[in-house]
Symmetry: C2
Subunit: 882 residues, 2 copies
């Protein structure tokens, strides 16, 4: 056995050797080898673990000389002595399998401490409490994982100690009390029949064995079974020298990013504390200082950090997030990883790295997620707005939010679920508050920095966060915030500006963010990759302009009914609806036509060169009338005034009669869509005339216009045949009248199961299909969206009867199968048929990936979601969405 | 050419020689050859026609000697002489192609008449008017079709003559006027430059040529093109001697059936008139006498008819409908065909013929249509009911009807369409009235017999008809009926009993007919053939009993909610619905369970040995509450009485609040079906417990019970999984408790498009599928049945946008495709899965044929439609339904 190399030095490893050195070990080796100042250490291989299980004692004996040799190297590299009484070398011992695997022994810190070395550590750090606390923790951890004693017994002693001293937190325990506790701990170990090894070498040997042993704990074995991880991989063991940032003012600790994770700017960004340990920064107990100030305190360390920035990015090709410790002036990197970043930063970093020739364009696109893009489109406060700032904190996560003050995560969740906007306010947050953060519009904490729990989570969720707002005195019992002499109570309204760290009393208006050039550039990379086009749904010239601005290449759904809902038009529409014969109806329609034509002129002009899909009138006619009880109320009022015979009252009665006759028990499945156009042909004729008159005028003026005329709610070939013939006749008539030829298509929504099932027939007449997946989801599931979403559907998602809300994420098994049938059969009849989707799913990344797989021509979504869709279309090609 | 045989005698032909002798010719030959007394005649072959078109003059020359020879035979057979001045032989000349083909020359009657023979005919018949009128008609017809003169010119002369004589009808013209008219006709022929042949042989030769010529008229050519009939078939020509039933009192004419076409009884059934022509019977101008009376007037003829009955049925294997004429004591059959019959007769005749060994069982089943069966289940009057009979007419079509009196077919259609029951009252009906007959519940005429237009059509439609009710004086102008001194006006209510020929003023209750033994036997033949089982939908023990009576082999849909709608149960149900927590709900449910268990005991016992498919609660809960406005009204009333604080008011307010909170904009797509069972598990648990408790008790008593527990509105595998697990747990618990094992299945309705699309998944958990095609049609088309049927859907059918109402006839392209998918995928997962249909389509013949094609196990329909479904299932196997 003695010829085998069981122990590897960093120099002998690299990132590709995970199966031999484990994930952690391989990474440490890699960092070392690219020149990063990693604390000295070495790795026992997975082969050693496997050998251990064949011959325990034999392996340990064979390994030991190699461990001792590597420890010697570590002593010389650190200038410390393992078990030394002056400058003791302490180490961490960690397990590290080739794949991440919970259930094994994780970490023992501060190994090497005993009655002697603890005094040496106290002397070296000048902090007796720190040294004793480290010792206490070491004994506790070691007794648990190596000696396999009950964890709870130690916790009980600890609690007793705090009670005795009358304090609440561990860190408040006095050195005296800690010393007493250490004694109790050691006594307890003895009383359980175990021996706590005083000899650091014995400590080390037993710890290594414990790691090997932990490979086969029941938890680890079960985990491997479930995850189908082979049992013979084995785990490596890394032994790394401890470094301390709290041994004096030439020490410190910090975290920093190679670029600004909020804006993406290329600058060192982070925080540090002098004479502190890493956990002091993360826990938010002391508020750390900006990394820039390090330059004054430790110019060499700061310079070294700047040097490392470029080294790291050259190597990892991405922005890095590093943890560092300075021990007596010497910088150590404890960890480096790709840095979490805001959406804005993600885009900026990706685009900058393309410019810096660090990465190619498709890699830039891979670096940005659809969630990033959504965050970029989050609301902001107008920076020029005069505002009464209540307090200032750290700008921990960008964007702005308005909501009711809430102090408990549970309440945030409850109110949030019922649709209320809330701001979660806490001194600091913990993982227990996650559900509240999820439900809240924004988060406000009085403690913690840019890397505190609240800040990190909020950035991940794309929600605004103001952290470390120390002017706030938060009383969780009374549920109040005191700011100076001002008291803010639960449910008062606050506005947060997470981009600038501002807290404002009351509600301020939010504005949509504008498109940055970086963002535009990134999306242009995406467009180069994407197969799907992205179109937008829009009903007005303003919508059309916004759609173009966001890069939409067409209008996939222009809902003509919205045009009739405008105040000055509604009365004419109501006349049309209440008409008792064709003549009355036509008279009202002629007036509406003038208005519709105007709308079309505006939209067609805004979209010139791009197709505009105009959907003819869709909703049931009663939607244009006031509700019957409202009409009855107004009539009763007039009667009360003695004006029961006035023309106004007569008019209202007529509307009421009509509304009554149009009433339906299930309007979703009623007299709407093309059924209107078939039974009252004059309505659709008016709309088609308005389209061709508008388009004709623009074509005559040299504007390129492409109307796609879309029939809603078609379910049968016969409907499609008649409606197409109607459009053809009007188009021909207009061309004869004006001499202008307008290029156009006639097609249909596929929004009924039957339309999908007979798509092969419909394609005989339809030149395009547009999937209306909102309605299609309603009829396929038999869910009325209006009724279900707030009621049983929410419950269904909560109870996991449904994995997701099918109105948000396209249901592939059901609705998706209909889409597949329609695409296949439609193309069978008309190979070149244009097919897209215009339901809200057109803006949902997973649904877009499905549309990409179906080979659709385009997805159409709300203008604000166009950027998300453009990116998602590219990610679908890259296989990052499925 | 002379060697070819162009002319065939009857003896030389038979029914299989249609291509040579034409359809008519072949049938005449067949009748002759089985010994029927057909008037002598012969046939020119289709080959002659083809040869004519190759060499016109040549063919006619070649044919002529053969024609003359056959005419000689005819003279000797009839004892008459062609062109003879005493007993002239007259003939009819008809075209007859191998396939029925309009557009050719049809018929010339009375050929052989001229100035001399007409006098001979007058002398022989003793009826100068008849002879002259026959001559007039012959000239007019011959001039039109042979000489190709304008038909209108003759009609003009005829009208002038009537005007001159001051009469309205043709038959009122005097012999003098007819003689004058004949002169005018002949003069007109001459003035047009044509010669009307006096010589009968010349008449015959030209008529035969005209038939050949008519093969290529533009109308005939176009018809062949459209129908894809080859141009080279040619037409045959039949020449048959005329016989007259109006040459004296030893003459007569009549129609008769070999069995009673109303009841199917084996008896000669028909009508005759002495000294009359066939058209007198059909036109309803004289009311004919029952065939039984012929025995007294013409015993030999009557005997001969009886002899022929058996001859005909032995040969044709079906009830025959014959036209006969007696000329001077000699009986001739002019036509025989399968007789139209009532449903009752169809069944009786079919079953009798099986008993008589005339036909096999499957042929009996073929002879009855689903429409027949529907008619058999039509309403009847209680024969024991005392009634005030207004008038008696002929029992022309069985069944009874109640409706408003209407005199115009248009009005009948209008009212009928708006859902009103009407009785169409006419002196007699014509084909112009068909739409009115369609729309009416029944028909009443003052003239015409059992074979009049009204009677024949009504029988075909399965509607009651009373014809020849001569006591009625119908004034179409004033729209009144006078009966004696009684006046009945438009829109008064009448009741008709078409089975007994009764007319009753006012509305009488109608009762359902009972099942005859014949009917039962026929359906048992059907069951032997059918592959599909027929089950029934039924919610009560009474339904179950009726279902068994009609032959259902299971309950395919037992709707448990109907049990809760009963007066004494509804309040408990309302308590359950209005419950604010689980405990309240469970308390009410426990009380409901006792009631449900009782229901199940009754149904299971009635269906013992057969499966009972119990559907758990389906409708939205608000259906069990009064409507909100009603509740508000009742609350307001109590408040007015000063009882606003009474417990009653409080209770109503609670119901109103609940009703308000349960209100949905599209309840069809809302919180119903298994969604209730998932969100409030205690509801379904109660129902399943009631099922198992009831079934367990019966099993313990030795009753064979097979509950199939059906989940409504399932759309996802997860729903099915949870609900199946719930049933399994309860079944196990009950078995443990009682020690009794109940065999059961758990399955699902397939009534949502998604259920069909993921049927492969559902079959993992579901042991049976039942297609709920009512709801499936609603969601597949996006039609709310409640809203659509009275509104746009009726319009859609009227405008032919839809070929049929898809709630009546299953839509194969859309809904049917979903069924195919579900069957295929369901069997893919679970090959033995039990699949049936329980929507209303389960009782529709065409839909049943589709279910047969899909290979379903059963169709389930309302008990009253079970017989229709049993027959349809058999006809599907026989390929008679598709």
């Amino acid at each position: 056995m003695s010829v085998v190399q069981w122990v590897y030095e960093y120099e002998q490893g690299n990132a590709s050797m995970k199966s031999l050195l484990g994930g952690k070990g391989a990474n440490l080796a890699q960092m070392w080898n690219i020149g990063l100042p990693v604390p000295p250490g070495f790795i026992l291989t997975t082969e050693a673990c496997k050998a251990y299980w064949e011959d325990r004692a034999g392996l340990l004996d064979a390994v030991w000389p190699q461990v001792r040799q590597s420890m010697k190297r570590m002593e010389s590299a650190t200038g410390k002595t393992f078990g030394g009484k002056e400058n003791p070398l302490l180490v961490s011992v960690r397990s590290g399998a080739p794949v991440s695997m919970p259930g094994m022994m994780d970490t023992i810190l501060n190994l090497g401490l005993n009655g002697d070395t603890v005094e040496a550590l106290a002397a070296a750090s000048g902090d007796e409490r720190f040294a004793l606390d480290s010792y206490r923790r070491f004994i506790q951890m070691y007794s648990d994982v190596v000696l396999e004693l009950e964890h709870g017994d130690f916790e009980f002693c600890l609690a007793q100690a705090k009670k005795e001293q009358g304090c609440r937190h561990d860190h408040e325990l006095s050195p005296e009390m800690l010393r007493k506790l250490v004694g109790q701990y050691l006594q307890m170990v003895q009383s359980k029949g175990k021996v706590f090894p005083e000899d650091p070498w014995e400590q080390l040997r037993l710890a290594i064995e414990a790691v090997f042993r932990s490979w086969n704990t029941p938890r680890a074995v079960t985990y491997r079974q479930i995850q189908r991880i082979p049992d013979d991989l084995g785990t490596a063991v890394s032994v790394v020298s401890m470094v301390y940032g709290n041994l004096g003012n030439d020490c410190g600790t910090g975290v920093c990013f190679t670029r600004n994770p909020a804006t993406g700017e290329r600058e060192l960004f982070g925080e540090f504390l002098l004479n502190a340990q890493g956990e002091d920064v993360v826990a938010g107990i002391r508020t750390p200082r900006p990394i820039q100030e390090l330059k004054a305190d430790m110019p060499e360390v700061h310079g070294e950090l700047l040097r490392l920035t470029s080294l790291l990015e050259q190597h990892y090709k991405d922005m890095q997030d590093i943890e560092f410790t300075v021990e007596r002036g010497k910088l150590y990197l404890l960890q480096t990883r790709n840095g979490k970043r805001t959406a804005k930063a993600a885009v900026r970093v990706a685009v900058d790295m393309v410019r810096e020739n660090l990465i190619p364009k498709d890699e830039a696109v891979r670096r940005v997620t659809p969630e990033n893009v959504e965050q970029l489109l989050h609301p902001q406060l107008d920076p020029n707005l005069p505002m009464n700032v209540l307090a200032r904190g750290l700008p921990a996560s960008p964007g702005a939010a308005v909501g009711k003050v809430v102090f408990q995560a549970d309440e945030a969740e409850k109110l949030g679920r019922s649709g209320e906007a809330v701001i979660l306010v806490r001194p600091e947050t913990t993982p227990d508050d996650i559900h509240g953060l999820f439900a809240a519009q924004g988060v406000l904490t009085s403690h913690g920095g840019m890397t505190s729990h609240a800040a990190v989570v909020a950035r991940g969720l794309g929600k605004p966060c103001v952290s470390g707002c120390e002017a706030l005195d938060i009383d969780l019992q009374r549920e109040t915030i005191r700011v100076g002499d001002r008291i803010i109570r639960k449910h008062e309204i606050l506005t947060l500006d997470g981009s600038r760290g501002l807290v404002v009393l009351g509600s301020l208006p939010l504005i949509q963010p504008s498109f940055t050039d970086d963002f535009r550039e990134l999306l242009s990379f995406a467009d180069e990759i994407a197969a799907l086009e992205v179109w937008a749904n829009g009903d007005t010239p303003e919508d059309a302009k916004r759609a173009r601005e966001f890069g939409a290449r067409g209008i996939g759904l222009c809902r003509t009914e919205h045009m009739f809902m405008q105040a000055e038009r509604l009365p004419v529409m109501q006349e049309m609806v209440a008409a008792t014969d064709r003549e009355e109806r036509v008279a009202a329609l002629n007036r509406l036509k003038v208005m519709q034509k105007d709308d079309f002129l505006g939209i067609f002009e805004a979209m010139q060169g791009f197709p505009v899909t105009v959907r003819l009138l869709d909703p049931p006619l009663h939607e244009f009338l006031p509700k019957v009880p409202e009409l009855q109320g107004r009539i009763a009022e007039l009667e009360k005034k003695g004006q029961g015979d006035a023309p106004e009252a007569e008019h209202l009665r007529r509307l009421a009669r009509k509304a009554e006759s149009l009433r339906e028990s299930n309007p979703m499945l009623g007299f709407r869509g093309c059924r209107l156009g078939i039974i009252y042909p004059e309505i659709y004729e008016m709309q088609v005339e308005a389209i061709f008159e508008a388009a004709g005028e623009l074509v005559a003026r040299g504007v390129s216009v492409h109307p796609d005329i879309m029939m809603p709610l078609v379910g049968t070939l016969e409907e499609m045949k008649r409606l197409r013939a109607m459009v053809g006749e009007i188009a021909e008539r207009e061309e004869k009248r004006t001499g202008v030829r307008v290029p156009y298509l006639v097609g249909t929504m596929i929004e009924l199961p039957r339309a999908a099932l007979v798509a092969g027939q419909l394609a005989q007449e339809a030149e395009f299909f547009s999937f209306g997946t909102n309605d299609l989801t309603q009829t396929t599931f038999g869910y009325s969206r209006d009724d279900a979403e707030g009621k049983f559907l929410a419950e269904y998602v909560r109870l996991h009867v449904l994995p997701e809300n099918p109105f948000h994420v396209l249901d592939r098994d059901g609705v998706g199968r209909l889409l597949e049938i329609a695409v296949q059969d439609g193309r069978g009849t008309r190979p070149a048929i244009q097919i897209g989707i215009c339901g809200e799913h057109g803006g949902n990344p997973s649904s877009i990936a499905f549309c990409h797989k179906l080979g659709l021509k385009y997805v159409s979504c709300s203008p604000f979601r166009v950027p998300v869709a453009r990116l998602s279309a590219a990610l679908s090609v890259l296989g990052l969405l499925s």
